[in-house]
Every structure is written in structure tokens, then in C-alpha cells.
């Protein structure tokens, strides 16, 4: 075990992936000699050479198009999009191409070697173009996997799994936690399973579901609620697509209450899917309406970012409302 922050854990995962498989190639804007604007790819070019870790021209649709082709050819393409807010020029390559590549060819061809890493989320005074959480767009796209880690240990294990998974994976990195989150991380090579949620804290009265940077927020809310005598079960979804319905449903069967929280706007956010699926699966067990604590239905603001964000107090209020329903 070693103590490190999330960026270091991600950098280690990339290093191990490249070291253990010569077919792993990392690229994106500024990821080469400079090591990425967040330094997630530091030293990789030095270690593995310019052919395996390099800068691309500034064109996201080209980066992902190139990555699709490289993955189809049999390499493991690990592309970085500098901010999730800038992933949209590549939307067509991701949604129409990566996601449908295997299906449309009847499995003659696939881009399973593709992983797209991108920092997402607010809390860093980024305004609406350095703060977005676009995971729900991709979660509506069969053929993709969507993964979000909550801490360094998760980040390393999930990223290694994502790179080696035989399906295209979008890996959203909570940039607010890049340096803020640190902890013990196994030194060696390990993987955590995709598509499986984790019960981070057991509880009896209410289930709280979140992912990525929102995990510390709901954990804090759970602690606050504890003071009211409310026992919360906290679930980290980890994968948004496919997502672990069984884990959430099991929990709700027990608690009868559910609060889901994400930073993205409410309408059409992924909490909607969870609420829709769980109200169906757990209908007779629900003691109060499923609540969503999310960003407002607006673009992401700046000066009033704190007010905008679904913070622990807002989650706490939702917990109280649910329990007192």
C-alpha cells in the first residue's frame, strides 16, 4: 500500500497498463511531453516513447475517430479529452461509432480496446465550461460502458479494468478530487469490477446513491443525518452503464427509501433512470417518493457555484423529507 492522491493513482494505472501490455497507447491534447494539463500522463512519454504516448492536434472528433480506428486495429487506445465539457465534438464518433461498432458488424469488428478518460464535474470555479457532468448523455447509449471512480483506490482499479475491458469505456474522473482525495492504494496491478456497485456504508432507514465526486457529499450527509438518528445506507454506483440495479434494489427493499444525487441538471439526469427503475422494482416497498438532489436545470454557474451544487445540506434536507414523509 502507498499513500497517494487520485492523480497519482491514475498515473500509476496508466503506467501499469502500458508496462503490462505493449498495445496500450495513450494520447490527447497536451498529454505527451507535458503530461497533460492535470499531469495524469506525466512521465509516460519518457518511459514508453513518443509512439505510445503523444500529443494530438486540438481536435476531439479526430482524437476519438483516431482512437476508434486504432482500437479496431487491435491496439488499446486510451484517449484523453482535456475536460468533459469538450467531449461533445466527439459525440458522433462516440455515440454513432464506438457504441455501435461491434453490433453493426455482427462482431466482425469491435473497438473494445477503447477507453476515453476525461475529467468532469464542478467545485473548482470553472464556470459552465470546466464543470459539466455529462455522464447521462452517454448512459443513454447502449454499447458504451460508463465508469466513475470516487477515490484513488477505486480510480486505479477501475481504470485498469476499463482499459482491459473488451468494450469501449468512458472513464469520468472527478477533477475536484484529483488532489483533494488521497488514501492508501495497493502498489501492484489490480482491477475492480465494472458494472458492480459498492455498498460503502450499511444502514437501515434510507438508501443514498451517488457516484464519483458526489460520494463524499452523500457520505457527509449520512453523517449529518446520523445526528438526527437516521441510519443511511450509502451506495457508490461506480458504473453508470451498465448499472447495478440489483444492488440498489436490495438496499431499497431493506430501507424503503431512496435519495439519488448527482451534479448534472435534474431533468434527464441519470438519477431519473434509477428512480424510474427502482420505483418499478420496489414499488411495494417504497415508504416515500424517491428523491433526487441534483444541479439546477441551468448551465453551470460561477459566482454562485456553491449555491448551485447539490451539497451535503441539500442531501440532508432530502433525507429528512423522505424520512418524515
Amino acid at each position: 500500500m502507498a499513500h497517494m492522491n487520485m492523480l497519482q493513482a491514475i498515473n500509476q494505472a496508466l503506467d501499469i497498463a502500458m508496462d503490462s501490455d505493449p498495445r496500450v497507447i495513450c494520447f490527447g491534447e497536451d498529454v505527451g511531453g507535458f503530461g497533460g494539463v492535470f499531469r495524469a500522463t506525466s512521465h509516460l512519454q519518457e518511459k514508453y516513447g513518443k509512439a505510445r504516448c503523444f500529443n494530438t492536434p486540438l481536435v476531439e472528433q479526430g482524437i476519438v475517430g483516431f482512437a476508434n480506428g486504432l482500437a479496431a486495429q487491435g491496439h488499446r487506445a486510451v484517449a484523453e479529452i482535456q475536460f468533459a465539457d469538450y467531449i461533445y465534438p466527439a459525440f458522433d464518433q462516440i455515440v454513432n461509432e464506438s457504441a455501435k461498432f461491434r453490433y453493426r458488424s455482427g462482431n466482425l469488428f469491435n473497438v473494445g480496446g477503447l477507453t476515453i478518460r476525461t475529467p468532469y464535474g464542478g467545485g473548482i470555479s470553472g464556470g459552465h465550461y470546466h464543470s459539466q457532468s455529462p455522464e447521462a448523455y452517454f448512459a443513454h447509449t447502449p454499447g458504451l460502458k460508463v465508469v466513475v471512480p470516487r477515490n484513488p483506490h477505486q480510480a486505479k482499479g477501475l481504470l485498469l479494468a476499463a482499459i482491459r475491458d473488451p468494450n469501449p469505456v468512458l472513464f469520468f474522473e472527478p477533477k475536484r478530487l484529483y488532489r483533494a482525495s488521497s488514501g492508501e492504494v495497493p502498489e501492484g496491478d489490480y482491477q475492480l469490477p465494472l458494472g458492480e456497485a459498492e455498498v460503502v456504508k450499511e444502514g437501515a432507514d434510507i438508501t443514498l446513491v451517488a457516484w464519483g465526486a458526489q460520494l463524499p457529499v452523500v457520505e457527509e450527509a449520512a453523517e449529518l443525518a446520523e445526528r438526527d438518528g437516521i441510519s443511511s445506507e450509502v451506495i457508490d454506483l461506480r458504473s453508470i452503464l451498465p448499472w447495478d440495479r440489483d444492488c440498489v434494489a436490495e438496499s431499497v427493499f431493506k430501507t424503503g427509501r431512496l435519495v439519488i444525487s448527482h451534479e448534472a441538471p435534474l431533468t434527464g439526469g441519470f438519477a431519473a433512470e434509477i428512480a424510474a427503475a427502482i420505483q418499478q422494482r420496489c414499488f411495494l416497498y417504497l415508504e416515500s417518493p424517491i428523491a433526487r438532489v441534483t444541479g439546477l436545470d441551468t448551465p453551470f454557474p460561477l459566482t454562485l457555484e456553491k449555491e448551485y451544487l447539490p451539497d451535503a445540506l441539500k442531501v440532508l434536507e432530502a433525507i429528512r423529507a423522505s424520512v418524515n414523509f
Partner: protein, 400 residues
């Protein structure tokens, strides 16, 4: 930026009109060579393989358009008029170089040996279609023949070809990728991204633009203001050549040379083939609304098949008899294959959910189970689904 650009002190605007990109041509319509032109080395066998692929394509297009008109097929798209461009370029490659095409390149598959049955199974989307009946007719794909499955969104394959070729370069086995696309598709941002990335990363890729005059109804003058697509290469300091796309020998020779640059020097190349879409855009289109019969007739005079045939005849490699026999044989084979394909069952119901991922996720398997139960309840309402119900049990499990 190694160039020593000179400095001037009077403002002067350039437009590219300062120079021009000539068209490389070898054959006259009558099959003779232009003055000063030299035919590429081409064996008797290879020349006939090329011509048979061109003729195959022409006959396939005629037959299948007719089948579409009869309601046997939902959709078809001809390559008529562009056979020399597609087959000529393919013939200049190694058979295991990768092809990433747009949709009008059936000639490349024909040249490589994709069988009539393989064509038909795709066109009819039956249980034997490699694509499992998921895409519209003409969206062929073949791993065996290194022909990437066609995808309808335009130009997406162009940057993919760059990535594919980059992988080939890393593998170091001397292979390259060719990507075909129309002059319309070259307007997409993906094209620009691809050219830039290929030239920066020195990738063994050949960009072959079929400039056939139209993107559906849109003529080139409403597609771009420049003299064709070729000058775009200058924006990336990429090697470029323009070629008479109805001239098999010229396309072949240009592509041979391009492949050498790509594979031996890691220099990507743009080839602009000047040709014409003699047929409608597709079976859904009627070109009489946007272009004149006179224009079409003028291009029919430049038919690339006739031109190649005349050359072959001059070599003493072909005659009317052989032409007639080939046509008849192709027609008969196609008719028979079409009937075989039509008789095949549809893909099994379970193929609806396989290949979304390498394995079928639990939630999706559940969706299939619900659907199967539904189809069993109303088998007469879903004859295709019911037909494939039991055949497909293992498919769902295996994901293949």
C-alpha cells in the same frame, strides 16, 4: 515550420489560383494510351481479375436495382460509373491492406473475392448476413477480406482509417489503410481532423476521394468553391495527386505510387479521382430533379468499363464472346444466389441483443426474455421473430 518564408512589404493576397493540380490520365476512351503515357505493368491474370470485378459490380448493380424495383429489396445503391476508381485503387493494394469505405465501393469487395452469396446475404439481411440483419442493404463488411463494415454516418471512417493505419505502422508489418469517401463527405469536420492527424503523425494511409460531382442533389459548386478536393492537401503539406477516375490504369498506377509513399516513407497521400455518379444517389433518389440528361449522357460516353474493355481488347486479352459469356454467367449466378438468400430465415430473435457488448448484460438478457415471451404469445404478429425463436437460443448466450 522549417520553411524560410520570405518577407514582403506590400500586402498581397493569394488564393491558390497561382498554380493548379493537373489530372493524371493514361487511357483514352478508345482504350489507346495518351501520347507520352505508359501503361503500368499488369499481368494478363491481374488485368482480367480487375475487369471481372468491374463487370461483376456493374451487373450486381443492375440486378439489385431491378430487385429493389420489384420490391424484393428495401434499398439499393449503385456504384455505376465509378468502378475504375474503386477497383483500380483496390488492385494496387496488397490484399490484406485495410479498406475503410463509404458505401459505394462494392467493387473493392468484388475484387477481393467476396462471393455472390456473401453479397446477397447482406442485401437480404438474413440469418447468414455477417451483420446479422442489423444494417440496411449495401452495408457490407468482411474480416476475411479486410473490408471494414460500412457505417452510414459520413466521414467517420476517415479519422478511423488514420488510427487504423497508425496501428499498422506500430505493428511494422508493412501494411497500410485506404479510406474511400465522396467529395461531399469531405466537407465534414472529420475529414479535416483526419488529414491533419495523418500528416502530423506520418501515418501510412491513403485518402481516396471519389469526386463524382454530386452529394445526393448537391453539385460540387454548392459543396466547395475551390478547384476540387485536391488543394486541401496543401493545408497539411500532404502528398496529393488528381487522377482521371474513369481511367483504370491511371487510378491503379497512382495508387501504387501512393502506397509506396505511405508504406515505405510513412507519408499519407490524398488521391482525388475525378469521376461521375452515373446512376441515382440510391434507389430512393431520382436525379432528374437536379441534373440534366445531357450532362449524364456526356459522362456515359466516358464509361470506365468500356474504356478498360477497349484496352483489354487492344492487348488481345478480351473479346465480345468472353464479354457475353461473363455477363450471362454473372446474371445466372446472381439470380440463383438471390433466390438462395431470400429463402434463408431471418436472424434469430436473440441476435437483437448480442454484440451490443462482448457479452449480453443481465438487464439486456431480461429485456430479451420479455420480448421472447411476448413473441411466443403473439407468434402470428411477429412472424420473423417467431421463426428465429428457437434457432437463436445459443446465439443469445454466446454473444456471437
Amino acid at each position: 515550420m522549417t520553411r524560410d518564408t520570405s518577407s514582403v512589404h506590400v500586402p498581397h493576397f493569394m488564393t491558390g489560383d497561382e498554380w493548379q493540380v493537373p489530372t493524371f490520365a493514361l487511357l483514352r476512351q478508345d482504350g489507346s494510351l495518351h501520347d507520352g503515357a505508359e501503361a503500368p505493368e499488369l499481368t494478363h491474370d491481374k488485368a482480367l481479375r480487375i475487369y471481372r470485378a468491374m463487370r461483376f459490380t456493374r451487373v450486381l448493380d443492375e440486378r439489385m436495382l431491378a430487385a429493389q424495383r420489384q420490391g424484393r429489396l428495401s434499398f439499393y445503391l449503385q456504384s455505376t460509373g465509378e468502378e475504375a476508381t474503386v477497383v483500380g485503387a483496390t488492385a494496387a493494394l496488397q490484399d490484406d491492406d485495410m479498406i475503410m469505405a463509404q458505401y459505394r465501393e462494392q467493387g473493392a469487395l468484388a475484387y477481393r473475392g467476396f462471393s455472390i452469396d456473401e453479397f446477397m446475404n447482406q442485401l437480404f439481411g438474413n440469418a447468414l448476413d455477417y451483420g446479422k440483419g442489423r444494417q440496411m442493404p449495401i452495408h457490407y463488411g468482411s474480416a476475411e477480406y479486410h473490408y471494414m463494415t460500412i457505417s452510414s454516418p459520413l466521414a467517420t471512417q476517415i479519422p478511423q482509417a488514420v488510427g487504423y493505419a497508425y496501428g499498422q505502422k506500430l505493428d511494422g508489418e508493412g501494411r497500410c489503410t485506404i479510406t474511400f469517401f465522396g467529395e461531399g463527405a469531405a466537407s465534414e469536420g472529420d475529414f479535416h481532423a483526419a488529414l491533419n492527424m495523418a500528416s502530423v503523425h506520418q501515418v501510412p494511409v491513403i485518402f481516396l476521394c471519389r469526386n463524382n460531382g454530386y452529394a445526393i442533389s448537391t453539385p460540387v459548386v454548392e459543396q466547395f468553391a475551390a478547384d476540387g478536393i485536391a488543394p486541401r492537401a496543401f493545408g497539411y503539406r500532404m502528398h496529393v495527386i488528381r487522377v482521371d477516375g474513369n481511367d483504370l490504369l491511371a487510378v491503379y498506377q497512382a495508387t501504387l505510387a501512393a502506397r509506396r509513399l505511405a508504406v515505405e516513407e510513412n507519408k499519407p497521400v490524398l488521391i482525388e479521382a475525378m469521376t461521375y455518379r452515373l446512376a441515382a444517389h440510391s434507389s430512393s433518389d431520382d436525379p432528374s430533379g437536379y441534373r440534366s440528361q445531357k450532362e449524364e449522357a456526356a459522362w456515359r460516353e466516358k464509361d470506365p468499363l468500356a474504356r478498360m474493355r477497349h484496352w483489354l481488347e487492344r492487348q488481345g486479352w478480351w473479346d465480345d464472346d468472353e464479354e457475353r459469356r461473363l455477363e450471362e454467367q454473372l446474371r445466372d449466378e446472381m439470380l440463383a444466389a438471390m433466390k438462395r438468400a431470400e429463402r434463408q430465415p431471418p436472424p434469430p430473435l436473440a441476435s437483437l441483443v448480442s454484440d451490443v457488448y462482448d457479452e449480453v448484460p443481465a438487464a439486456l438478457a431480461e429485456q430479451l426474455a420479455v420480448l421472447e415471451a411476448h413473441v411466443r404469445r403473439y407468434p402470428e404478429e411477429y412472424p420473423r421473430g417467431a421463426a428465429g425463436l428457437d434457432a437463436g437460443a445459443e446465439t443469445a448466450a454466446g454473444g456471437q
